[in-house]
């Protein structure tokens, strides 16, 4: 079949990226990591960030949290305000100078740094080199715990059923659904239940949720119904935009079900409670 590629697109701009190969992970755990907390976690779910730090520290890793960090720039980027997004992204770049892995607490923000910063800085060759190096060492938390730390979780919690929700962009760009599932599978007393149309978007989409509230609302209504019908006692997710969307909708519906960040869920079941 390769003969079909004869003379393939010599002048065409923007041919699709080659089929991604499985990401390669370092053999050894690093001594140090940077943590990127993300803007939503910072203000609304700081415990998810702290539990991430605790999980990493338990692996013997020194966690660094540069205080100058704020946001990956995604809200402006997806809204079409590219210049604003670039400047906010640039402000983060300067903070992660050491060659340590950058662990991100939220999947879509990790995807932003790994896959979209190069588009933001496409006209700045010097910055682009820096971006490529940063992207190569950027990990979503669950991915990092699973594939770099190779954690073995000891479940101390009571038997429970959970549903896992994965952000769409993170699922498609980072395979986070597989990482989340693998971590949950290590927890002996936790049964992960599927929910209807599991891979479908929860309707958040950043500013989409306020620009198109009716469509977004219909999507989150379907998502929360599926989660409630799944029989799960709680929802876990490694993406805080989705968490804010799903929990906000559940609260508005006066439902009892709630979502929790995967890091907090794991820490609560496996951590040394003091």
């Amino acid at each position: 079949m390769s003969e079909l590629f004869y003379n393939a697109a010599p002048n065409a701009t923007r041919i699709a990226a080659p089929i991604p190969t499985q990401r390669e992970y370092p053999d050894q755990k690093p001594q140090h990591v940077y943590l990127f907390g993300t803007c939503v976690v910072d203000l609304f779910y700081p415990e998810a960030g702290m539990d991430s730090i605790r999980l990493l520290e338990r692996e013997g890793i020194t966690v660094h949290f540069p205080q100058g960090q704020s946001c990956c720039g995604q809200p402006a980027y997806t809204s079409g305000y590219t210049d604003e997004a670039r400047e906010v992204a640039r402000a983060q770049l300067a903070l992660f100078r050491q060659d340590w892995p950058l662990v991100v607490v939220s999947g879509s923000c990790a995807g932003m740094i790994r896959h979209h910063y190069s588009e933001l800085f496409k006209n700045e060759p010097a910055t682009l080199l820096q971006i490529e190096a940063l992207a190569a060492r950027t990990y979503e938390l669950a991915e990092f715990l699973l594939n770099v730390c190779k954690v073995g979780l000891k479940d101390r919690g009571a038997p429970t059923k959970v549903a896992l929700h994965t952000s769409c962009s993170a699922r498609r760009e980072m395979n986070t659904h597989l990482h989340g599932r693998a971590l949950l599978a290590q927890l002996e007393a936790v049964q992960r239940v599927d929910h209807d149309h599991e891979s479908e978007c929860c309707g958040f989409g950043g500013t989409f949720s306020v620009r198109m509230p009716d469509i977004s609302g219909a999507m989150v209504a379907d998502k929360t119904r599926a989660l409630q019908e799944s029989g799960a006692a709680q929802v876990v997710t490694a993406d805080c935009g989705c968490l804010m969307n799903i929990n906000g909708a559940l609260e508005k519906q006066n439902a009892t079900l709630r979502g929790q960040h995967l890091a907090s869920f794991i820490w609560q079941r496996t951590g040394d409670r003091t």
Binding site: I15, L35, V210, A221, G248
Partner: protein, 484 residues
């Protein structure tokens, strides 16, 4: 019965995309119809493309073939014209839909044609051909079953492959019994037989057959047309004249290129390994032949496509082979259906092609009507990065209208100095650690007095409440001031 068979279509044109979307969302019948249909299409596609490696290889190949064709588009179009002409097919160029309609009309007039029969063609929908010809006293009858149904109902297609997908069998049953006077039945086979019976006669009476084109092959001067009902073959072979209409981007270099594209098209669209009919039209009837049209025409339509072609990123929009997989997998399309978009092409591909066809000023909300979930890009057989193109269109949409270079018609149709100022302030806040620190300090300390009503968000959500202390504070306490 009346309630059950109510046709859930929206009155067009209603004021705005958002209003139409809201109406569609409130129509439970419509939502059920789309959900059931789209679920089935997704399942079929996955079943026939079950090997992910093979699927990805094929998509990659499809992307390369389309990108190569577009990279030499002007050349290929010239070659196509030369080879079609050599084969006896007459080629016409139309920059606008008005020009295209005028060409079809002049051919019809030359043959004193009063009855046209059409296979399925989305480009003819772009041209609004049926209505334009009708005004000139020329009847243009749809012969694709789905198109026939919606023509009877006085509607527009709600999907590019399955134009009547918004209706269920009961709705079609009552439409047929109301308009054709046949006995009410919800038996799908019987309904189709009713339609086929009516159409059969029409094929023999038609003066001209109209069709679309799936691939126009430059090297051989061949027009390739796929279909499942046989109406395409009838429309292009029974009437004495055949007019094919298509967009300039449908050209491919050679027949070898068609093989993978065809595999991708039928699998992505309906989960079929191949369609029931694959028509390859290479000339009018030759002197020694007994059937086929005596004249074949091809109308090549631009209608804004060259605007997309001019930009390397937006050009990828023209990779599209019109399989409809992006709509089948779109959580927005599934919920609002095709009519809410108010454009000929709905769904994700509609959101990125319509701004070129109609101008951003006429599609201002289309680029924003996506959560950028990526489902469309994931299934696109020719790997159009639809989410990235949508994001790019958003950027063009919020630019000041007078900013240069002016790449798109209707640039800046969502420009708002207030929103621009808001994002500027956002940038200030998120690039200044000092400001940001004060902001989070205040937000967390005032968490109990943050507003409960936060605009559109509050329609479906409780307002998020800031934590009592930010992660910055907690981390600083736990880790100390970071020096690294």
């Amino acid at each position: 019965m009346t309630q059950m068979t109510r046709i859930p279509v929206l009155e067009l044109p209603t004021p705005s995309f958002k209003t139409r979307a809201r109406q569609a969302l409130n129509d439970e019948q419509l939502r059920r119809n789309f959900r059931v249909a789209m679920d089935s299409l997704m399942t079929k596609r996955l079943a026939i493309m079950s090997d992910p490696d093979e699927r990805e290889r094929l998509r990659e190949m499809g992307n390369h073939i389309r990108a190569r064709a577009l990279s030499k588009l002007p050349d290929l179009l010239e070659k196509l014209e030369a080879n079609l002409t050599r084969n006896g097919i007459q080629v016409h160029w139309a920059e606008t839909v008005d020009e295209a309609n005028a060409i079809v009309q002049s051919i019809a007039e030359a043959h004193k044609a009063k009855h046209l029969i059409k296979g399925k063609s989305m480009v003819s929908e772009e041209m609004n051909m049926n209505h334009v010809l009708e005004k000139q006293g020329i009847e243009c009858l749809e012969s694709d079953m789905g198109e026939y149904i919606i023509q009877l109902a006085g509607q527009k297609p709600s999907h590019i492959i399955m134009p009547a997908i918004h209706m269920n069998a009961a709705q079609v049953a009552s439409l047929f019994s109301d308009t054709l006077g046949t006995e009410y039945t919800t038996d799908v086979d019987e309904l189709i037989q009713t339609g086929r019976h009516v159409l059969r006669q029409k094929f023999f009476e038609a003066d001209i057959g109209i069709s679309g084109v799936n691939f126009a092959v430059a090297e051989t001067g061949t027009l390739l047309l796929v279909e499942n009902e046989g109406n395409g073959r009838m429309s292009t072979s029974v009437p004495p004249v055949h007019i094919a209409v298509t967009g300039i981007e449908k050209v491919v270099e050679n027949l070898r290129d068609v093989v993978p594209l065809l595999s991708l098209l039928t699998r992505s669209a309906l989960g079929q390994p191949i369609t029931t009919y694959v028509n390859m039209i290479s000339s009018p009837r030759k002197s020694h032949e007994l059937d086929g049209p005596q004249e074949v025409h091809l109308v090549l339509l631009d209608n804004g496509r060259s605007q997309a072609f001019a930009d390397g990123e937006l050009r990828q929009t023209l990779n599209c082979i019109r399989c409809g997989a992006c709509m089948n997998h779109c959580p927005v399309y599934t919920r609002i259906g095709g009519h809410a978009y108010g454009t000929v092409y709905p769904g994700p591909i509609g959101k990125i092609i319509s701004p070129h066809l109609l101008g951003l000023e006429n599609t201002p909300d289309h680029p924003s009507a996506s959560s950028l979930c990526g489902a469309c890009g994931e299934v696109c057989p020719v790997k159009i990065p639809i989410p990235s193109v949508l994001r790019r269109l958003r950027e063009e949409n919020v630019k000041p209208p007078e900013a240069t270079p002016h790449l798109l018609r209707g640039q800046g149709s969502k420009y708002s100095s207030r929103e621009r100022l808001a994002w500027k302030s956002w940038r200030k806040l998120y690039t200044s650690p000092t400001l940001y620190k004060s902001f989070t300090y205040i937000a967390t300390r005032l968490r109990n007095v943050t507003p409960r009503n936060v605009g559109p968000w509050s329609k479906h959500h409780a307002a998020p409440k800031p934590a009592s202390r930010s992660l910055h504070e907690l981390a600083r306490e736990h880790l100390g001031e970071d020096k690294a």
